[in-house]
Amino acid sequence: GDDSDDGEATGTTAPATTAPATTAAAETPLKIALVAPSASDDLAFTQSMVDAINALSDPVDLSITDGTFVIEDAAAAIRGYAEAGNEIVVAHGTQFGASLAEIAPDFPEVTFLWGTSTDTQGLANVFAYSPDAAEGGYVNGVVAAAISASGSIGVVGPIEAGDAVTYITGFNNGALANGATDVSITYTGSFGDVALAAEAATALIINGADVLTGSAQMVVGAVGVASDEGVPWFGTQANQTSLDPSLVVASQVYHWEVILEEMIDQREAGVLGGEAFEINLANGGLEIEFNDGFDLSADARAAGDAAIAGIIDGSIDPNG
């Protein structure tokens, strides 16, 4: 897994200029543009994609528009990048899909990547991508149950929708499968309210939770409380170990590069889209990164590894 290197966020490229929108020759770097809702070093969803593109084996020329939480602005950026001659434009946000459906047909030469999504909306130049976040959630849940003394585990989510639900569903199933008695799931009602996330974590701990997890940007508030109270934390979307090197047990990390490589290959072979990809434990796109700084018992680790193996071989259904 790769560690987050902060500071190296934006400005990796020169201004995008007009260029022929045809397939790149082998030596010129591939022109990729990324449009994302949160900051590129958010330790979460957006950073996972930035890291993945930078980890590609081919040389790339990457432009980023991040922090575009206004959907209309994102749509303008997607269109703008397509016009500016990028070969691949990544619309890194479920909410951008509707706009993409309008834009993609106007630029048949450009490949659009859209995630997280499980279908391409029938567009020939769109690749969809999604994580099976339930898988990592399940593994985290199994390990969390293993280290919970009380059997009571707390979860802090934003609003009950999208990726967060998938992860939390998997987590819940994993924890219950491994003997947790009570998984309390709290949706704060906001992606951004750190203080509320902190109070949610506090309430969960007072209510008896001795292990916590959560999804979305505002969970740093919950991590802070977990950290104060000495409660272990499970992360998702990116490696959150840096937030508390002694209490973060494991993080589900997205390695999009696994499927990005595949999509680029297809494009080079003349297929500009039309397929949905998924990262999961089996294809290595999802990885559970354990934190060596946390003193995890061998049993718990073994339970986690068993869950990973079970999911990969199909004997465990994290959604079931």
Binding site: A9, T10, G11, T12, T13, P15, A16, P37, A39, S63, I64, T65, D66, G67, T68, F69, V70, I71, E72, D73, A75, A76, A77, G80, Y81, A84, G93, T94, Q95, G97, A98, S99, A101, E102, I103, T116, S117, T118, D119, S130, P158, I159, E160, A161, G162, V165, T166, G189, S190, F191, G192, N319
Partner: protein, 376 residues
């Protein structure tokens, strides 16, 4: 002289704003001149960009025109965000319920639903103010919060696209709404859609309402002096409700246009209000006040402000500076320009006063200032 002053001061303010922006750009390692060029190109550089800016200005025009109505009635409406959402939700529900109607009926219908939804959401603080003495600044701010949560609930639960449940992706968005409700594009190859003329017409309507109709007369009377209005037999409470309802309905219309003029043709939430509204509920206040609370001036004012937003976004894309810069620049421009506009007004007023004295504008009936002297 006075024309010179009023031209020079905003230019100085603009220069100061540009200087601030330049410093920040330099600090970010970007070339300021390229930056400004990118902003200009992004906002006004081509027919396409001009159209994009117009589309971006639509909610600002509408919210701004509505704000002009309510502020003229002395009602401070900070609830634009919530009213946009309410209008969008009701128009979305309408389109979901009657997808098969022909466009000629369905488009006006969804726009009307937007007006109604926003109007209701505006009338609530109006009623609270008029009949329960709840200050509207408090209630509109609070109702914004309520609207966001309500939108999140509606879009993740009753209105969610059934496919999202089926696939397990659970994205909080509606299904693709009827194409019969989509606002037609008026300049092909651009984003310029029916929403733009609708917004302009609504602003003109707001102007007529305020200055040409008895209702507008009453609203302005109540705005200037509720006591005198009441004594003259004008129903003050009802006027307050009307002002907020009208203001809200224009914001609600903006909400409908945001949905049916969007590329996506569905309503979707990212959990915040700004994600859907682009903060038009607040920026519309700026557009309105900047336009002197005059619905017609709100149109150019909103267009410039829209240009600031599209331009700054383009700047970010071209120079690869963080998106937060765009918001920062908006703030800086607003601060500098608003500071200068009042200074200009004051100097202008003083100079004008002198000139008007020398050449009285409209003399009338009674004794001109200096007449015959009747000594005793």
């Amino acid at each position: 002289m006075h024309r010179l002053v009023s031209a020079v001061i905003p230019m100085l303010a603009a220069l100061a704003a540009f200087a601030c922006a330049a410093i920040i750009l330099l600090a970010l390692g970007a070339n300021p001149f390229e930056g400004f060029r990118a902003m200009y190109t992004g906002a006004f550089g081509s027919v396409d960009r001009l159209s994009a800016t117009a589309v971006r200005a639509v909610p600002l025009v509408l919210v701004g025109a509505g704000i002009s109505i309510s502020f003229r009635a002395s009602v401070i409406n900070i609830g634009g965000e919530g009213q946009i959402i309410a209008g969008a939700l009701l128009s979305t529900v309408t389109a979901l319920a009657l997808p098969g109607l022909p466009p000629i009926i369905l488009i006006p219908l969804v726009l009307f639903a937007g007006l109604v939804g926003g109007g209701i959401w505006g009338a609530v603080p109006g009623v609270l103010k008029a009949y329960a003495s709840v200050n509207e600044i408090l209630s509109t701010i609070m109702l914004n919060i309520v609207a966001v949560q309500f939108m999140n609930y509606m879009l993740r639960s009753p209105l969610i696209d059934p496919l999202e449940i089926e696939r397990g992706t659970r994205i909080p968005q509606t299904e693709r709404l009827s194409d019969n409700a989509a606002l037609p594009t008026l300049i092909s190859g651009t984003r310029f859609n029916l929403g733009v003329p609708v917004a302009v017409a609504a602003a003109v309507g707001a102007y007529f309402l305020l200055w040409r109709t008895p209702l507008g007369f009453r609203l302005r009377a109540v705005g200037h002096s509720p006591d005198a209005a009441r004594a003259a037999g004008i129903p003050v409470e009802r006027s307050v409700v009307s002002a907020l309802a009208l203001s809200g309905s224009l914001a609600g219309l903006a909400g409908a246009i945001l949905v049916f003029g969007s590329e996506g043709q569905r309503m979707i939430t990212d959990g915040s209000s700004a994600g859907f509204t682009g903060s038009a509920g607040f920026n519309g206040i700026v557009a309105a006040l900047f336009g002197g609370l005059h619905p017609l001036w709100t149109i150019p004012s909103a267009y410039l402000f829209g240009g600031l937003i599209t331009g700054a976004n383009h700047l970010q894309r071209v120079l690869q500076v963080p998106a937060a810069l765009a918001v920062t620049l908006n703030g800086i421009v607003v601060i500098f320009v608003v500071s200068s506009s009042k200074v200009r007004d004051r100097i202008g007023a003083i100079l004008k006063a002198r000139r008007e004295f020398d050449h009285p504008a409209n003399e009338s009936t009674s004794s001109p200032p200096a007449e015959e002297v009747a000594a005793t």
